[in-house]
């Protein structure tokens, strides 16, 4: 028995040796590496519809310019990328050009993926070869004229795109550089968290300073102490990305999806690298003065908070770790843009469910029993209490967002 086992092992070893020699690569490890990189890049977010074959495309992205759909990136020769070569794929990732010199829209975040190393792209490519082909036909470009003319992207790229792999900063640690590589590259954090210019390109001077998209606020990720994550320790950032919740906050909206699909599966050392990098992003805060507690809006908001919110978020905004976000001294509350706050009060919200924290607590909708005035008052109160300070919210802002959300 023993003898036959060891003989098997010997044969296996030989076989691996041959495979290695034959392809010049350890293909199993390469594919597994690619699988992990695809998780880092959260490719499924745009390329897999829930319940549909992996990477068969069709996820709709509502951009300010119109609709774009995630492509079928399975190895199907007709509807997928089965006829591409690795160089075709490399061009997509680094230049935003797909075969036939077709320029891609920035919704495919090649402005971030250009940072990905050629070596990592090879692993990604090897992994994509192993996915089941799907014949799902996807018309990716559903933008109205003139945005549907891909030639318009020549100008867009001149304005908004700098091609090139990530270059490590020799002044910084390997861990910091790994974090920077992940955040700027496959993690494509800036796609949501960096403010956009009029053409939808990143304002790179304001990298990760927070932006509004699809009626949600993607918060400020800089180490700004007021509206950024300056008060979070690196461990808090890791816990948030791993479990969807930490002692301050709970991921909701598009971030809940990101945590569910992607970051909960990142290796801890990669998450820590991201945390170390983000914490190094100094960005001095401009802190406005809070409204006076005896302001009539604040008084009304205080009563509403006590009656509707304090049961879960506690009377001084303390929250409950892992369940109900802390509202006191909270970066997201202090964001200049209150859209996410108004939105979760009106429509309610569901946290992401992760392997580590599967509960997915939800906030109920208060749209039915809080008027626009009520919502404006209570959000204004929270934004100006317990160490928070941010612009008051008007009832017309609430009204507009309510109409916008209920149409969908």
């Amino acid at each position: 028995m023993k003898a036959s086992l060891s003989m098997c092992a010997g044969v296996l070893g030989l076989a691996i040796g041959y495979a290695h020699a034959g392809t010049g690569a350890d293909s199993y490890n390469l594919v597994e590496k690619g699988r992990y990189l695809a998780t880092l890049g959260d490719c499924t977010a745009c390329h897999t519809l829930p319940g549909k074959p992996l990477f068969s495309g069709g996820v709709v992205l509502d951009t300010p310019f119109g609709k774009l759909l995630g492509a079928n990136i399975t190895p199907d020769p007709v509807h997928g990328i089965g006829r591409w070569s690795f160089e075709d794929f490399q061009n997509v990732m680094s230049k935003g050009h797909s075969p036939g010199d077709k320029r891609l829209y920035g919704a495919m975040p090649f402005t971030a993926y250009t940072k990905v190393s050629r070596e990592d792209n090879q692993a990604l490519w090897a992994y994509l070869q192993t996915v089941d082909p799907s014949d799902n036909a996807v018309e990716t470009n559903q933008l109205p004229f003139p945005f549907n003319v891909r030639a318009s992207l020549i100008g867009w790229n001149l304005l908004n795109f700098t091609q090139g792999e990530y270059q490590p900063d020799p002044q910084k640690s390997a861990q910091w550089n790994r974090g920077a590589y992940l955040v700027q590259g496959l993690g494509h954090c800036g796609t949501c968290h960096t403010p956009k210019n009029l053409t939808g390109g990143d304002k790179n001077g304001q990298f990760l300073q927070g932006a509004n998209l699809q009626g949600w606020v993607a918060p400020d990720l800089t180490a700004n102490n007021h509206s950024g994550i300056g008060s979070w320790r690196p461990e808090d950032i890791v816990q948030y990305l791993k479990t969807g919740a930490n002692r301050f906050d709970v991921a909701s909206g598009p971030m809940a999806e990101e945590v569910e699909h992607s970051s909960q599966h990142w290796q801890d050392e990669d998450l820590m690298a991201v945390a170390v990098y983000l914490k190094d992003f100094a960005n001095p805060a401009e802190v406005p003065k809070p409204l006076a507690a005896n302001d009539p809006t604040m008084k009304a908001g205080q009563a509403i908070y006590a009656d509707r919110c304090s049961a879960c978020h506690i009377s001084k905004g303390q929250g409950v770790e892992g369940l109900f976000p802390t509202l006191a001294n909270a970066p997201l509350v202090n964001n200049a843009d209150a859209s996410s706050m108004i939105r979760v009060v009106l429509s309610g919200s569901r946290a992401g469910a992760t392997d580590a924290a599967p509960t997915a607590p939800a906030m109920p909708s208060f749209g039915w029993n809080l008027s626009d005035d009520n919502v404006a008052a209570v959000v204004t109160y929270v934004r100006n209490s317990w160490g928070n300070a941010a612009a008051p919210v008007t009832s017309s802002e609430v009204k507009n967002l309510r109409e916008q959300l209920q149409v969908k």
Partner: protein, 249 residues
């Protein structure tokens, strides 16, 4: 995502499994079902009561509503303590309840056999609340027309009191329904309407809660636990809101 459990365990399976369990003794480990995934969640979803913001009568005809308002006004008259049951919205409350599931006793077992029980056994009537109101109001109108040539709502306070007392004691018989049953039905619903949350149509402006000093549907008193022997003066809170929410100035 969540698989439906297979059909219930049969008696044979149960016997077999318990026998096995006994045989295996304490070493047996139970295999519990594991449910993964999260229940559906929809934005703007809420479980608010039906009809709470719909104007007009939902179940009563105008004529029935007028009579019910006269009864609740007599049961809870306006005085130095509070407004009347009518002005507190008790008839609206009853109307909303009858329009909903309560009106048909949708959640109660209502198949026969029906037998007159003992007093200890409580309500044994086959009639659901809608039928009780419809029959009771028709019977009451017929009785009042026969004796006073007016509907109940046309009577003066003394005649109203005497009539209600007769229903309560059963000295006045109504066609189609036991008169004490009808009286108890209306009295019970009137009290419910007077003290229930205003979202259900009664207790307008939380009049009864202000009367008795009830602070309303509050979730949590943690902030008040330490405040002994102090008057808190909490403004009553309804599911629909509170006067404290209105911006002053």
């Amino acid at each position: 995502m969540i698989e439906k459990p297979a059909k219930g365990v049969t008696r044979r399976q149960l016997l077999l499994s318990s026998a096995t369990t006994v045989a295996m003794g304490a070493a047996a480990t139970a295999k519990a079902a594991t449910i993964a995934g999260t229940p559906q969640w929809v934005p703007f979803d809420h479980n608010g009561p039906l009809h709470y913001d719909t104007p007009g009568w939902q179940y009563f005809t105008d004529e029935q509503a007028r009579e019910v308002e006269a009864i609740v006004e007599q049961l809870i008259p306006a005085d130095e303590l509070s407004v009347s049951g009518k002005d507190a919205g008790c008839a609206v409350f009853i109307d909303r309840q009858l329009a909903g599931e309560y009106g048909t006793f949708a959640r109660l077992y209502q198949e026969g056999p029906f037998q007159p029980g003992t007093a200890m056994q409580g309500d044994q009537s086959p009639l659901n609340p809608r039928q009780r109101y419809t029959l009771g109001l028709a019977g009451l109108t017929k009785y009042c027309q026969a004796n006073f040539k007016k509907p109940f709502s046309g009577l003066g306070a003394e005649q109203r009191d005497a009539t209600l007392a007769g229903l309560e004691k059963g000295t006045i018989a109504l066609d189609g329904i036991d008169s004490p049953l009808f009286f108890q039905q209306v009295l019970g619903n009137t009290m419910e309407g007077f003290f229930a949350d205003p979202i259900y149509g009664g207790n307008r402006d939380m009049v009864s809660w202000k009367l008795i000093g009830f602070p309303g549907a509050r979730y949590d008193y943690r902030d008040y636990i330490g405040l002994h022997n102090q008057k808190l003066d909490l403004v009553p809170l309804s599911i629909v809101g509170s006067s404290a929410w209105t911006q002053k100035g």
